[in-house]
């Protein structure tokens, strides 16, 4: 058990001891976040502000071509930094950002108490799960591709005997995909996955029946690289 350091305001005057107990109640004020609690909404907002990372503008569904290629950075994840043995009251966050221009993952460490970015590291070949925005982009890339669209429509028809009119009815889930997950099976185009940011999509009909075809999308290049039979 870690003993909390308490600031004690006590003084002696004429051999009478007077202690300020107000200090203690401040420490336990309602908005105090404890070391092991997840980051609060407020904390995440402060981290975003501190990170000074250009957040991707939201893309409307009607926008044209180059929406598929991302020239910016995308915040992938902000989570509480776990540091065993950290001083009591430490609140830090790990910020994972993907730089699509250089295909690097940027991992930053932010201190919420001091409002400082303590460190920032760039690495390649390391990936995190997709964000909702990336999932939407991946889906867009797939259905913007005429060949892919046709194949998936055929698959939809095979499963449901219906014509796919609105892709919005499809339930889509996606994993981040790295080439070394699938040795001997990745084609040339997919080999970059890991360095590039790629997604493996799983599509389901409205009744939740899985498509037996799973496209791999290179989000960095904005193309479908491969289709895995499911």
């Amino acid at each position: 058990m870690i003993i909390k350091k308490i600031t004690i305001g006590c003084f002696i005057k004429a051999l009478t001891i007077t202690c300020i107990t107000g200090f203690i109640s401040l420490v336990y004020a309602q908005d105090y976040t404890h070391s092991n609690d997840p980051l609060s909404q407020d904390e995440v907002a402060r981290v975003v502000a501190m990170s000074k990372i250009p957040v991707l503008a939201a893309r409307s569904s009607g926008s044209t071509s180059s929406t598929s290629i991302n020239n910016g950075q995308e915040i992938l994840l902000i989570e509480r930094n776990e540091e065993k043995g950290a001083p009591e009251g430490q609140r830090r966050a790990d910020v994972f950002t993907y730089d699509y221009q250089t295909n690097e993952l940027i991992q930053s460490l932010v201190d919420l108490n001091t409002s400082e970015v303590i460190s920032s590291v760039r690495k390649q070949g390391v990936q995190l799960p997709l964000t909702q925005k990336e999932l939407t982009r991946a889906k867009q890339i797939v259905f913007d591709d005429e060949d892919e669209r046709q194949i998936l429509q055929d698959e939809y028809h095979r499963i449901t005997s219906r014509v796919l009119s609105d892709t919005a009815e499809l339930n889509i889930k996606a994993f981040t995909f790295v080439a070394d997950s699938l040795p001997n099976r990745v084609n040339e185009a997919s080999k970059q996955c890991g360095i590039h940011r790629c997604a493996q999509l799983m599509l389901y009909t409205g009744e939740n029946i899985v498509f037996e075809i799973s496209p791999i999308v290179n989000l960095s290049e904005g193309v479908v690289t491969q289709r895995i039979g499911f």
Partner: protein
């Protein structure tokens, strides 16, 4: 050493002694029913175990199922024991159960004593799928307890709503044996005595009698062989035509299923039950060279006098499971599978006394018993 009442195993198609049927129908319409009896040696023996999947025909799974021997070896080399035949799980060693032990359930009696507890209880998720479809399951549980020289063995059967059977032994009671050999035990209690460590080999006798004809069962051995680069596996199935002693093979994922030669599900697939044997880390081959400790599973043709896995009265049959395996046909006949589950105990302070129950279980799972999930 007990003189067995009869050296014979339960004859096929025997009738159930009056008052000894158990049956449970679940809210889904799935149903289990069976017969039970008490024998001096094996204790509670189940027979004519039938499963009816919801909306499907009622079919027999097991003709008889019992714990046919417990062989205890002590790590310090002191004399081993055959608990079923030297002492017996039945008779005066079969414990009288009371209502507290069977809370929420029903006590069943034999010869004027409550010896079996029957409880139907909730079992957590059966499944959850699609967006929000889900079902909580139920199971029928039976248990009895037998005390042999202060160690108490709880024999428990669980029958799940979806056709799964889980069987096991819970070891409790008091560990009274001590030794002066510190490498063959553990220093326990305030007295710092060395409690001897030991292995119990539980030999289960499973007389599968799938569906209406008990004489046309087939054993299939299934393996999934890894490729040399270990990226893929290839399934290999073969019919076991001759009696077989076999061992675990995690690398090949070897398992066995017992299927019916003629009866099928509505998709024309052979109905079967498979053995899911996951207990591996303690599956030692015994402290001595006895052949009946060297294998894990023995697949044999039914033989009325093959009743005890070891110390079987050898008049017309072998003395033990490795002798039962002697070249007889096992293709489309009456099959009995013997399964040896080894469990090692190194006592600890918490076991004194009595020891909290430690379970050793295995699963029998339907495979293609129905053409789809019926729940």
């Amino acid at each position: 050493m007990l003189a067995a009442n009869t050296s014979q195993a339960r004859p096929n198609n025997a009738t159930c002694p009056s008052g000894n049927t158990i049956s449970e129908t679940f809210s889904s319409g799935a149903e289990w029913d069976m017969c039970w009896e008490v024998r001096d040696e094996e204790g509670v023996v189940l027979s004519d175990v039938h499963y009816k999947a919801a909306g499907k025909p009622r079919r027999r799974v097991l003709g008889e199922a019992s714990l046919s021997q417990i062989y205890t070896e002590y790590d310090d080399g002191s004399a081993s024991q055959f608990l079923v035949t030297d002492f017996g799980l039945g008779g005066s060693r079969l414990q009288t159960l009371n209502a507290d032990m069977c809370e929420g359930g029903q006590l069943r009696s034999d010869d004027g004593r409550n010896v079996l507890c029957e409880i139907t209880s909730a079992n957590g998720y059966i499944y959850r799928y699609r967006d929000n479809e889900r079902r909580q399951g139920s199971k029928l549980e039976l248990f009895s307890a037998s005390n042999i020289n202060f160690r108490e063995f709880i024999i428990r059967w669980s029958f799940l709503e979806n056709g799964t059977i889980e069987a096991g032994v819970g070891l409790s009671g008091k560990f009274t044996k001590t030794t002066s050999d510190s490498s063959a035990g553990w220093t326990v209690t305030a007295q710092n005595k060395i409690a001897t460590s030991f292995t119990d080999h539980y030999f289960w006798r499973l007389d599968f009698d799938i569906a209406s004809d008990n004489g046309n069962d087939i054993v299939e051995q299934i393996m999934s062989v890894p490729s040399s680069d270990r990226l893929t596996k290839t399934r290999q199935s073969q019919t076991i035509s001759t009696e077989l002693s076999a061992s675990f093979d995690p690398d090949g994922k070897k398992f066995w299923r017992i299927l019916d030669q003629s009866e099928t599900n509505t998709s024309n697939q052979a109905i079967s039950y498979e053995m899911v044997l996951l207990n591996y880390a303690q599956q030692n081959k015994g402290n001595s060279s006895y052949p009946w400790l060297k294998s894990d599973v023995f697949i044999t043709q039914y033989n009325a006098c093959e009743r005890f896995a070891v110390r079987n009265p050898a008049s017309a049959c072998g003395e033990n499971v490795s002798e039962f395996v002697n070249g007889e046909n096992t293709n489309a006949t009456d099959i009995v599978v013997w399964y040896r589950l080894a469990h090692h105990t190194l006592p600890r302070d918490e076991d004194f006394s009595p020891a909290p129950v430690q379970w050793s279980n295995f699963i029998l799972l339907p495979r293609d018993w129905t053409s789809s999930n019926t729940l």
